[in-house]
Amino acid sequence: MEGLGVFGQAVLVVFLGGVVGLFYRGLDRKIAARMQARVGPPLRQPFLDLGKLLVKETVIPKTAVAWLFSAAPFLALLASFTALLYLPLGPFGPVLEGHGDAILVLYLLAVPALAMALGGFASGSPLGVVGAQRELVMLMSYEFPLAVVLVAVAWRLSTFGLAPAFSLGTMAAHPLWASLGPLGVIGLAVLFVVLLVVTPAELAKIPFDIPEAETEIAGGLFAEYSGTYLALFYLADAVRTLVMAGLVVAIFVPYGIAGALGLSGAAAAAVDFFFWLFKVFFVMAAAVTTVRVGMARLKVDQIAQGFWLWGTAVALGGLLLLVLDKVVMG
């Protein structure tokens, strides 16, 4: 990958990210179907869906703010793909290593949600407006625990004198588990769980799918979107799933297996890359697929209260344990 130059690498990662994201969406649907005792769609269904949406007519409602309504899907897709470029991909470092850190990724993950809310407000439909309000409430609720997790990990890394501590590349290169005392390991595990709980909320999947809530507000944010714009949102969602799962992997389980297998060179990179893909898939299946199959949709006040009180309290508890660990370990 090194021979390609940054631009070539970016094009490759964006292309592969789209394909893998859609393929994982297919896996997600298939596994969910099997859990619900259904046959489920074929694995290539997301590609077919995307292709179909791309050839369909794109309607812009008369009551919509047309430029904002049209800009939102592009914004969401661009932000999702850009976040992908800051993600360590198993054995390979982030494509844009050194051009931005975990805080930027945090914002890039929030941009698609904001773009969807803007699109919802601009759609001129009451259902879209209700969905957009819900999206913003959700965003405000889960961003704080998410930020606490990232800050806690980065702070502990910096205490070991590792710099730049806020870089996802540094986080992935130096997993904290082995270098912490028992209190720190418990604290880190707590933060791991918080991040896993935030993952479906970030991706607006059941039980946190309230901005779309098909039976309540008929797709909410997306109620007025169709054709190409809907396809862009669909792709952005698939890529975001990949980014979110990749973030969990990069911070908490960045380990490879090539060293244990005694491989080196290109073979090691290939094995570790596929192992990384598997880890990302596993995180998605555990945090998104299983959860969305096993729960009912919550209400917006229940989610806000849950994240503001419990999510934040637990995340701060994890941070406190890391601090105590630092005090004890010196």
């Binding site: 009451p126 259902l127 209700v130 819900r134 059941i206 309230i210 039976t215 199959v293 009912a296």
Partner: protein, 424 residues
């Protein structure tokens, strides 16, 4: 404040703009066309308007005016609704039997009871799945509907159809339950017995289901009584109201049916959505008991008092009089009124009152001060059957009209006078 519409603001009071969120006539939360316009402030519902009439097909008119004989009208009655496709024929046949003085042999009464209790099981399971879907819990929907297949298979085995069973006919039933079919029905009863505990567990002990249904859509017992709620909607509020208990018909006196309320599950009735789930799931168990008893005590004998259809038609053509038929449908009390005149093949009057018609008004107190997120489950919790309910729709010169009770009363007096003159 809503500067453009101060009237609306005064009406609802408080701060913040009031939005009108239309739900329906076509909406994913609704299985049938009806329009609910919600006035919401943020996520709170401050008012609701209900507009019906989208599923009106003029079935009673077709039965009364177009020269159909009563057996043909029976087919129409069956097609008022797919899910209540035994409830309407049972009420209709009873009404005609009372009007024409026809006796129903005991075995036929037992078969009618068995089929209608099977329908209750399938309808309640269908509702439970829909409720789970409205809550966004699709896994529960798929699992509930998978176990529902068993009762549909038994209905197909006994009647030939999964829905629209075509079993009751005036004076009896059209098909007997044969000795080979008994073991299959017993097997189904055992299957659901084992499953009921799991279903109760899946619905009532799930924290997310409880979080979404406890304290949501409350219908106070007093409101339920005043608004004439029927069926599980009333029973969930603690009213012991069940036509099978209050005015037993067919073979129901033999089974001593007791109205099921949440108290039977050790809960104090709150009248919320959770209680409605409790009542419906417990009624599945009650129906199993009734079918069990009916199979055990099934009397021998004829299944109809008119084996020959021409003889039946001739008798009905001569009949003169009026009759009321009622039945506890899965959604509550359904009533058919029929008036026959001798020499006419069609009924002179045929009036249907479906349970949803009585339950519709209980939506108003239930929606009061709830959240937008609760709309689908509250709308679904009375198990609305719009095609049963849409019996009248007024259009004059292309405009819809609403008539009050007094106007309707005046109109019906005028109609009666006209009919007397016409008969004289």
């Amino acid at each position: 404040m809503d500067p453009k519409n101060p009237e609306k603001d005064r009406q609802y009071g408080g701060l913040g703009e009031v939005f009108a969120v239309p739900i329906g006539p076509i909406h994913p939360a609704l299985k049938e066309p009806i329009r609910l316009t919600f006035h919401v402030r943020g996520e709170r519902i401050v008012g609701v308007e209900i507009r019906t009439g989208f599923a009106h097909r003029g079935i009673e008119f077709m039965g009364m005016r177009q020269g159909r004989n009563l057996i043909q009208v029976l087919y129409l009655a069956e097609r008022i609704c797919g899910i209540c496709s035994i409830s309407h024929p049972i009420a209709f046949t009873q009404a005609v039997e009372r009007a024409a003085g026809i006796e129903v042999p005991p075995r036929a009464q037992y078969i009618r009871v068995i089929i209608s209790e099977l329908e209750r099981i399938h309808s309640h399971l269908l509702w439970a799945g829909v409720a789970a879907h409205e809550l966004g819990f699709d896994t529960l929907l798929h699992l509930t509907w998978r176990v529902r297949e068993k009762v549909l298979d038994i209905l197909e085995e006994l009647t030939g159809n999964r829905i629209n069973y075509a079993i009751p006919i005036f004076g009896g039933v059209r098909r007997d339950i044969t000795p080979e079919q008994y073991p299959k029905v017993w097997e189904m009863i055992r299957y659901y017995r084992g499953l009921l505990e799991q279903l109760l567990d899946a619905f009532l002990r799930d924290p997310t289901v409880e979080a979404r249904t406890r304290g949501v859509g409350i219908l106070e017992p007093k409101e339920a009584e005043e608004l004439c709620a029927v069926g599980p909607t009333a029973r969930a509020s603690g009213l012991k109201k069940d036509v099978r208990q209050d005015r037993p018909y067919l073979a129901y006196p033999d089974f001593e049916v007791k109205a099921i309320t949440p108290e039977d599950y050790g809960l104090t009735p709150m009248g919320d959505v959770f209680d409605k789930i409790v009542v419906r799931l417990l009624e599945v168990g009650q129906s199993l008991e009734i079918i069990e008893k009916a199979l055990e005590n099934m009397p021998e004998g004829e299944i109809t008092s008119f084996p020959k259809i021409p003889a039946l038609l001739a008798h009905l053509k001569k009949a003169e009089g009026e009759g009321l038929g009622w039945h506890e449908a899965p959604r509550g009390e359904v009533i058919h009124y029929v008036r026959l005149v001798s020499g006419e093949e069609s009924p002179l009057v045929w009036k249907v009152k479906a349970p949803t018609y009585s339950n519709l008004l209980s939506w108003y107190p239930m929606f009061e001060d709830q959240e937008v997120a609760d709309i689908p489950i509250i709308a679904a919790c009375i198990d609305p059957c719009i095609c049963c309910m849409d019996r009248v729709y007024l259009v004059r010169n292309g405009r819809e009209e609403t008539w009050t009770k007094e106007e309707l009363l005046r109109l019906s007096w005028e109609k009666t006078r006209r009919m007397r003159r016409w008969r004289a």
